[in-house]
C-alpha cells in the first residue's frame, strides 16, 4: 500500500483530454480521451476542434478516472491542472473544470506546468508495481506535436532549467507536415514509420538544423525543423513521379532522430549529468528509442523512458506533479489564476 497525497490531475493543453489520479507516486487511474481522429481530416491540431472536444470529454473522463481509481472526490487531498504551456482555448476548459471541482469540493488547487508534468511521469509507477527510484539531476528531452524542449532538472518542484527548444516547428509537427508532403496519413509519426520500413535511412542526406559550427554559440541546444521540411519538399518536387517514398521517409526520420539524440547527449556531456529522460508522444517512435538507447549506452549515459501511456499527454503526470508539490509543502495556486499558453518551464506552479 503506497502512501502520499491523493491527487486528481487534469490535462487539456493540446488534443488529449486526460484525467489521472495518483496516491503519492502510484498511478490509480490514467484516463485519456483524444480528438486525434477529428484532427486527422485537417492534418494537424485545429485549436477550436480540440477545445470543443475537451468540453464534451471532460465530465465523462473525470467520472471514469474516479471510477477506475475507486475514490470519491471528497477523498482527494488536492486537485492539479495544466495551466500552460499549450493552446489557450484548450487549457481554459481544463482550468474551468478544475476550479469548479476545487471550489465545490473545497480542495486546494495547483495550476502546474505541462512540461514539468512530462518530467514527473518518470517518477510514477503503476498500481501494485515497485516504486521507481527518483533519478535526479537529469537531462530531459520532451518531444511531441506541441513541443520540443531540452531541460536540465535538478529538482522537480524548484529547479528546472530550459536548455533549449525548437525555434519553429515541434518535432511531431515536422512529422505531420512531412507526412502530408508525402501523401501519408495523419498523425505523421506512425505513417512515416510504416513508410520507412523498407527505406534506406542513408539514401538522402537531409539537413540537421542548428548543428553547424556557427550555431554552437547561441543555439547549441535549440532545434529547428523548418529547413528539413523545406529540403524534403524540394526533394519531392525534383523527384516528380520518380519518388522513393520509403527512402525519403527513412532519411527524414533519421535526420530528426539524429538531431534530437545528438543534442540531448551533448547536453548530458556539457552539464556533466549522465542521465537522459525521454518524454512526449514522439517517444512512441521506435527508431528514436533505438538510436537513443544505442548512443546513450556508448556515451555512458543512463537512458530512462517512462511507459508510453505516461509519455503522451496525460492527467496522471499532472496529478503526480501536484502530489510532489503537496509533499514539498508548496502553497496552492490562488483561485484567480489564468492559463498561460507560453508558461516558461522554470515556473513549475502558477501563482
Amino acid at each position: 500500500m503506497s502512501t502520499g497525497p491523493l491527487v486528481l490531475g487534469i490535462e487539456s493543453s493540446c488534443d488529449e483530454t486526460g484525467v489521472g489520479v495518483v496516491r503519492g507516486r502510484e498511478v490509480l487511474a490514467n484516463v485519456i480521451a483524444s480528438s486525434v481522429d477529428e484532427q486527422a481530416r485537417y492534418g494537424g491540431v485545429v485549436p477550436e476542434i480540440a477545445a470543443r472536444a475537451h468540453l464534451e470529454a471532460m465530465r465523462p473522463t473525470l467520472e471514469r478516472a474516479l471510477e477506475v481509481a475507486g475514490v470519491g472526490i471528497t477523498d482527494l487531498d488536492a486537485v492539479a491542472v495544466t495551466a500552460g504551456p499549450g493552446l489557450a482555448g484548450a487549457l481554459m476548459v481544463g482550468v474551468g473544470a478544475a476550479k469548479a471541482l476545487a471550489v465545490t469540493a473545497r480542495k486546494p488547487l495547483y495550476g502546474v506546468n505541462h512540461l514539468v508534468g512530462h518530467v514527473t511521469a518518470d517518477q510514477l509507477h503503476g498500481a501494485g508495481e515497485e516504486a521507481r527510484p527518483v533519478e535526479l539531476p537529469t537531462v530531459a528531452l520532451l518531444v511531441s506535436g506541441g513541443h520540443t524542449s531540452l531541460l536540465l532538472v535538478r529538482g522537480l518542484v524548484d529547479d528546472v532549467e530550459l536548455l533549449g527548444e525548437t525555434l519553429d516547428d515541434a518535432a511531431g509537427e515536422a512529422f505531420d507536415k512531412t507526412a502530408r508532403l508525402l501523401g501519408l496519413a495523419y498523425p505523421g509519426g506512425p505513417s512515416i514509420d510504416r513508410a520507412a520500413v523498407d527505406g534506406d535511412p542513408a539514401a538522402i542526406r537531409f539537413p540537421r538544423g542548428l548543428t553547424a559550427a556557427k550555431d554552437r554559440e547561441r543555439h547549441r541546444f535549440d532545434f529547428s525543423f523548418s529547413g528539413l521540411k523545406t529540403a524534403v519538399a524540394r526533394h519531392v518536387e525534383r523527384a516528380e513521379g520518380d519518388l522513393a517514398i520509403g527512402d525519403v521517409a527513412a532519411s527524414f526520420r533519421e535526420a530528426v532522430v539524429d538531431v534530437l539524440v545528438t543534442k540531448a547527449l551533448d547536453a548530458c556531456r556539457e552539464t556533466g549529468v549522465p542521465r537522459l529522460l525521454l518524454g512526449g508522444g514522439v517517444v512512441a517512435n521506435r527508431r528514436l528509442r533505438d538510436v537513443a538507447a544505442e548512443r546513450a549506452a556508448a556515451a555512458g549515459v543512463q537512458l530512462r523512458i517512462p511507459p508510453f501511456d505516461l509519455c503522451t499527454d496525460n492527467g496522471a503526470m499532472i496529478a503526480g506533479l501536484g502530489a510532489r508539490l503537496v509533499d514539498a509543502g508548496v502553497a496552492p495556486s490562488g483561485a484567480g489564476f489564468g492559463v498561460d499558453s507560453t508558461l516558461p518551464v522554470g515556473q513549475v506552479l502558477i501563482a
Binding site: 485545429v46 493552446l87 474551468g96 469548479a100 525555434l167
Partner: protein, 201 residues
C-alpha cells in the same frame, strides 16, 4: 437550491432558490478573463449563500464567443459532478429575455449580442411559457446587423441570477431543460495550431 453559471459574454455566477429568488449573484463584465474569474466568483456566491445543499446546476449554453463560453460550461458540469446535482442547461439569451420581461418589455422582441467579426447573435421571443419565462421562436442565429428581424431589440449581459431563475421556474413547472450542447452557431475555424512553438514567452 440551484447554482447558476454563465460565461457566454460576461462571467456570472449565482445561487438561486427553487422558486427562482436570487440568494447571491455576481457578474463581471470583463469579456476576456473567464478562466480567472470563475474560481473566486463561484467561491464567493457559495460562501455568501452559506454553502447550501445544491440540487441542480444551471448553465448557459450560449450563444456567445466560444472560448469564454466553454469555461462556464466546463465549470458547471464539474460542479454538478461534485455536488451530485442535476445539470440544467439554459439558452443564455433566455436570461436576458427574462430580465426584459421583468422590466416590462412584452414579447415579441429579439435578444441581440455581439458575435465579433461585425456580426450579432440574435434570438427572437414571441410568447411566455407556463413558468412565465419568454419562449424563443426558432433557433438563435448569427449574422450581420441587417439579418436581424425587425423587432424591438433587447441587449444586456447574461446575469446568472436570472439564468438560474429561468432554470428554477421551468423546473418547478416541469418544462424540460435545453439540450446540453454548446450553441456555437459557427463551424470551427480550420487553422492548424502553431501556438506552442516557443515556450520562452
Amino acid at each position: 437550491m440551484l447554482l447558476a453559471i454563465d460565461t457566454s459574454g460576461a462571467t456570472s455566477a449565482a445561487v438561486v432558490a427553487d422558486d427562482g429568488a436570487v440568494v447571491a449573484a455576481l457578474l463581471d463584465e470583463d469579456v476576456r478573463a473567464h478562466a480567472e474569474h470563475i474560481g473566486p466568483m463561484l467561491e464567493a456566491v457559495l460562501d455568501r449563500a452559506g454553502r447550501p445543499t445544491i440540487e441542480a446546476v444551471a448553465y448557459g449554453v450560449g450563444p456567445g464567443p466560444f472560448t469564454g463560453l466553454r469555461v462556464g460550461m466546463a465549470a458547471a458540469r464539474a460542479a454538478a459532478l461534485v455536488l451530485g446535482a442535476v445539470e440544467l442547461p439554459v439558452l443564455s439569451h433566455d436570461a436576458v429575455a427574462l430580465a426584459a420581461v421583468r422590466r416590462g418589455v412584452r414579447p415579441a422582441f429579439v435578444v441581440v449580442a455581439d458575435a465579433k467579426r461585425r456580426e450579432r447573435f440574435a434570438t427572437v421571443y414571441r410568447r411566455l411559457d407556463a413558468a412565465g419565462v419568454p419562449v424563443r421562436d426558432g433557433e438563435p442565429t448569427v449574422g450581420p446587423e441587417e439579418s436581424i428581424p425587425a423587432l424591438p431589440q433587447v441587449l444586456g449581459a447574461v446575469d446568472a441570477g436570472l439564468l438560474g431563475a429561468v432554470a428554477a421556474l421551468r423546473r418547478a413547472a416541469d418544462i424540460a431543460p435545453e439540450p446540453q450542447e454548446a450553441r456555437y452557431l459557427r463551424s470551427p475555424d480550420v487553422t492548424i495550431a502553431t501556438a506552442r512553438k516557443s515556450v520562452l514567452g
